[in-house]
């Protein structure tokens, strides 16, 4: 029982990172009803740029964060223009396939930038183990968890207290109606991608910093963790992304404890597969799926 609870604590700590990644997916899906599979690789390119600065120029944390985020945003915008903006409006699947292809492209670019297997990523968290009764938590995970909460609060403020945030929510709810309200949905999509990329860059920085290394597998890792977390929690729902991230973290931590790394990864995919079959909208996102179904069956 203690083991299980300890796993759950670890899971929640890891899961907060997953939740951040899932927020990126859910924002794009909520606004555009499309999946951006290139999300992970664009963060990875950002992180590579950060590492490159770290290795060659400066160890200033702020500068590295900035480089990471700016590069992620730049790549995000490239993906948005190529795979989303240029693809026909009604072709959601084409965008997904396109972003899948661009993923492979970005991975190869990253390989050429930094051809080694692993690179150190600057760590800004001191690592100590904190005991709470029979349980323990690592301090860098606590910092990550807290920073995740801060980012979440900022995102919430942006979405619910600013005009661009309102426009974003309007387009997400009803693109056609918001067009008639004078909102240019193309600009909003662009904005969504920019916001998501900033979020992704920060998330990447936090996660890698806690890991203190970056590998070429990070792109795949980030895309899948984010995607699985979102699809578990709920397509296009902010609460869902957080729920899904935490759920995925807890399941993985337990699977790892009882079965090892391979079982952990398999269980994540299994969970996703089962969720898609049983409840494609995730825990709280069934509304979007039923809406899409209803729109299709409106004959």
């Amino acid at each position: 029982m203690t083991d299980f609870l300890q796993n759950c604590i670890d899971g929640v700590m890891f899961g907060s990172g997953y939740a951040l990644l899932a927020l990126g997916f859910t924002l794009v899906f909520g606004v555009m009803k499309r999946l951006n599979l290139s999300f992970g690789p664009s963060i990875m390119l950002g992180a590579y740029a950060g590492t490159w600065v770290y290795l060659n120029f400066s160890q200033n944390a702020l500068l590295i964060v900035l480089v990471t985020v700016i590069t992620t945003v730049a790549v995000g915008i490239y993906v948005e223009r190529l795979c989303f903006w240029a693809v026909r409006r009604d072709a959601a699947i084409a965008s997904m396939v396109s972003s899948f292809a661009i993923w492979m492209q970005l991975e190869e670019v990253a390989m050429h930038l930094l051809p080694e297997r692993t690179y150190p990523f600057p760590t800004f968290f001191t690592s100590t183990v904190i005991d709470i009764g029979p349980f323990f938590v690592r301090s860098e995970h606590i910092s990550m968890f807290l920073l995740t909460l801060v980012l979440l609060a900022l995102l919430h403020l942006f979405l619910f207290r600013t005009r661009p945030g309102l426009a974003l929510r309007a387009v997400s709810d009803n693109p056609l109606a918001s067009t008639y309200m004078g909102i240019n949905s193309s600009n909003i999509f662009f904005l969504a991608f920019a916001v998501v990329s900033v979020l992704g860059g920060l998330a990447g920085f936090l996660i890698l910093s806690a890991d203190s290394q970056v590998t070429p597998f990070f792109g795949l890792w980030a895309t899948f963790k984010g995607l699985i977390a979102m699809m578990l929690g709920g397509m296009g729902s902010l609460t869902g992304a957080i729920l899904g991230g935490l759920l995925l973290g807890v399941v993985e931590a337990n699977a790892f404890w009882y079965g090892g790394p391979l079982i952990r990864d398999i269980s994540a995919y299994l969970l996703l597969f089962i969720m898609l079959i049983v409840r494609p909208g995730g825990l709280v996102g069934q509304r979007i799926v039923t809406q899409q179904q209803a729109a299709y069956e409106r004959v």
């Binding site: 693809v87 661009i102 492979m104 597969f273």
Partner: protein, 301 residues
């Protein structure tokens, strides 16, 4: 004696064409599968186990591997009946990754001639010696691959002309409308999945015996996205579409020196551009129809 490297490339094209055709069959019936590599992999392992560990002849191993793949595909097809679009794509991707990771756990070794042989998790599965044991030359094996490819093509052309093929294309355009024409989509979706699994499976067993060594990592998403992209590049209007896609990728991109090492950059970009300007590939339904009518006119004149 023709150049062995060239032959390897040619036989590669043949085997990859099979998985491309399998993705194509699903594409025309309206589902985008990111997971055909799973069936390729299942059959590669099963077929190689059959010949190497159980001493089966190749034709039986081919049948066994592909049937197993078809079975798995049918199973996934049944499970995913209710979902479509991006949900289906992600579900197939999740399944394929599950299969790939499970292969890391697959250890099944038998001692043959004082050596432990068989799949051994991450170590992979080497010594698939059927080609050597039976004195099959690279050329002969390449011919075998193309013989099977031709059979599959012949079969697919038959399907395209048949009612079944028409139903697949109807499903690909509007499942609800297909239902209202008196056709039960369930049956045909699963049929398409099983056929596609079998075709991918043929490629898998052939692949294992051609390379004599396989490991789980081969059957990753990279293989899947290629399989899918070939049809999208070549065109969804004709069975030859995916083959044209394969030829463009392996024949052209592989051979152009300038882009060596940047192949995925070019290929990924190409796919993205195709999706913008020709969403259904070079030879899409319209162009194929147009070409056919021109050919018909020529034929009459």
């Amino acid at each position: 004696m023709p150049n062995d490297y060239l032959l390897t490339v040619i036989s590669n094209i043949g085997m990859i064409s099979l998985i491309a055709l399998s993705a194509y069959l699903l594409l025309i019936s309206g589902e985008i599968s990111f997971g055909q590599q799973a069936y390729f992999g299942i059959s590669a392992y099963a077929g190689a186990i059959a010949t190497t560990l159980w001493g089966w002849p190749l034709w039986l191993a081919l049948l066994f591997g592909s049937s197993l793949a078809a079975l798995a595909a049918g199973f996934v097809g049944l499970l995913t009946l209710r979902i479509s679009g991006l949900y289906f794509s992600i579900a197939t991707l999740a399944f394929a990754e599950m299969v790939r990771l499970s292969l890391f756990k697959l250890t099944y070794q038998i001692e043959i001639d004082g050596e432990l042989i068989g799949p051994n998790g991450a170590e992979g599965f080497g010594e698939i010696r059927w080609i050597f044991d039976n004195d099959v030359s690279v050329l002969e094996y390449t011919l075998l691959i193309y013989g099977i490819l031709l059979l599959v093509l012949f079969f697919l052309v038959l399907i395209e002309r048949s009612r079944l093929g028409m139903i697949f294309r109807m499903l690909g355009q509007d499942p609800l409308l297909t239902r209202v024409q008196g056709l039960n989509p369930v049956r045909y979706k699963v049929t398409a999945a099983i056929l596609a699994g079998f075709i991918a499976g043929l490629g898998g067993t052939l692949y294992a015996h051609s390379f004599t060594y396989i490991e789980p990592q081969i059957f990753n998403m990279m293989l899947g996205v290629h399989a899918l992209a070939y049809g999208l590049i070549g065109g969804l209007g004709t069975v030859l579409g995916p083959l044209i896609g394969v030829a463009i990728d392996i024949g052209f991109l592989e051979s152009v020196r300038v882009i060596q090492g940047y192949r995925m950059v070019v290929f990924g970009g190409l796919v993205a551009l195709m999706l913008i300007f020709m969403p259904r590939g070079i030879f899409d339904e319209k162009r194929v129809y147009w070409l056919k009518s021109i050919a018909r006119r020529w034929f009459r004149a």
